[in-house]
């Protein structure tokens, strides 16, 4: 058994695909539909066969309430790891990303948070080495 996919709820899958590829820099992995249901995932180009992130359409009222509450508390809906959070911050900012927290040292890591334009705050994390 492996952890192969994890999900974030998004309010618009096309918009999410643009943000997660053009701004964050991930690559589309699987895009498949059955009727109005659309299975859409992205993966990191650094790890094309690594864990996928499903961009799941949020049409579930319970999930919407949960998502909005997390967003208002600035709780990240997903977390990604990088080797250089400052460089990623500059790169994403140049592509129009709106950060709710610029790179900041916290215990054990340096983190930054940004809005994904689809209802979520997401976090980029660089683990400290010592």
């Amino acid at each position: 058994m492996k952890i192969k996919v994890t999900s974030v709820y998004v309010d618009d899958q096309d918009k999410a695909l643009r943000f997660y590829t053009e701004v964050l820099g991930f690559a589309k992995k699987t895009d498949f539909s059955q009727g109005p249901y659309r299975w859409l995932t992205v993966a990191s180009p650094e790890e094309p066969d690594g864990t996928e992130l499903q961009l799941a359409l949020n049409n579930n009222p319970a999930a919407k309430a949960y998502q909005q509450a997390l967003f208002q508390q600035s709780q990240p809906a997903a977390m990604f790891f990088t080797d250089d959070v400052q460089a990623d911050y500059e790169r994403m900012k140049a592509r129009g990303a709106e950060f709710t927290m610029p790179p900041k040292d916290v215990t054990g890591s340096k983190i930054a948070m940004l809005k994904d334009t689809c209802g979520n705050v997401i976090q980029v994390t660089q683990l400290m080495r010592w």
Partner: protein, 189 residues
């Protein structure tokens, strides 16, 4: 379920695509040997829909203003969407939404039967797959109304069916588009 093993759909036919800006519409026409009243019942009654349609309905779709939950059958995660019926002129016009898709049905008396037209918007990458799926659904509907039900063939049941893949390829050719193969391969972009 008497004749499902022998079922072999005919060639792709009766479908068109229309593009308005970013919005693609699939238009399907099928002539059925049954009266508009019978076809109307099959389009609106949950017990009938369960025998042929790609979704289950928790209520009757035949009344304007009715709120009905539709469950996509065979989706990889539970997919339930709620719709309000916006038009129900029995037995002629029926409009509601299936998830993000507009569903517009027109029933025209034709001899003793019905010319059934469906307009539905669908992403262009999946429009040939949609046409193939509805083609099979309409065959199943025709058998159901003719008193020889086959049981519905939707979702994974349709996709593992060789004829669905042939229809997908035929419709893609007719529409002049590329359609994803089954099983899905990672997108190349």
């Amino acid at each position: 379920m008497i004749n499902r093993a022998q079922y072999s759909p005919g060639p792709a036919s009766g479908a068109q695509v229309r593009k308005d800006g970013e919005k693609w519409t699939l238009i399907l026409v099928r002539e059925l040997r049954h009266s508009p009243e019978k076809v109307w019942q099959a389009l609106t009654d949950p017990a009938h829909l369960r025998e042929w349609a790609p979704f289950d309905a928790d209520g009757n779709l035949g009344t304007v203003g009715a709120t009905v939950k539709l469950t996509t059958v065979g989706a990889p995660a539970p997919h339930v969407t709620e719709t309000t019926v916006t038009r129900a002129d029995a037995p002629e016009m029926l409009e509601y939404k299936w998830g993000g898709f507009d569903m517009r049905w027109k029933l025209e008396a034709l001899g003793g039967g019905t010319r059934l037209t469906l307009w539905t918007n669908i992403g262009h990458r999946f429009i040939a797959m949609g046409a193939a799926g509805w083609h099979i659904c309409f065959d199943v509907l025709d058998h159901l109304l003719g008193g020889t039900p086959m049981g519905r063939i939707v979702g994974p049941e349709a996709m593992k069916f060789g004829a669905w893949q042939r229809l997908n390829a035929e419709y893609a050719r007719q529409f002049g588009i590329e359609s994803p193969n089954w099983p899905p391969k990672p997108a190349q972009e």
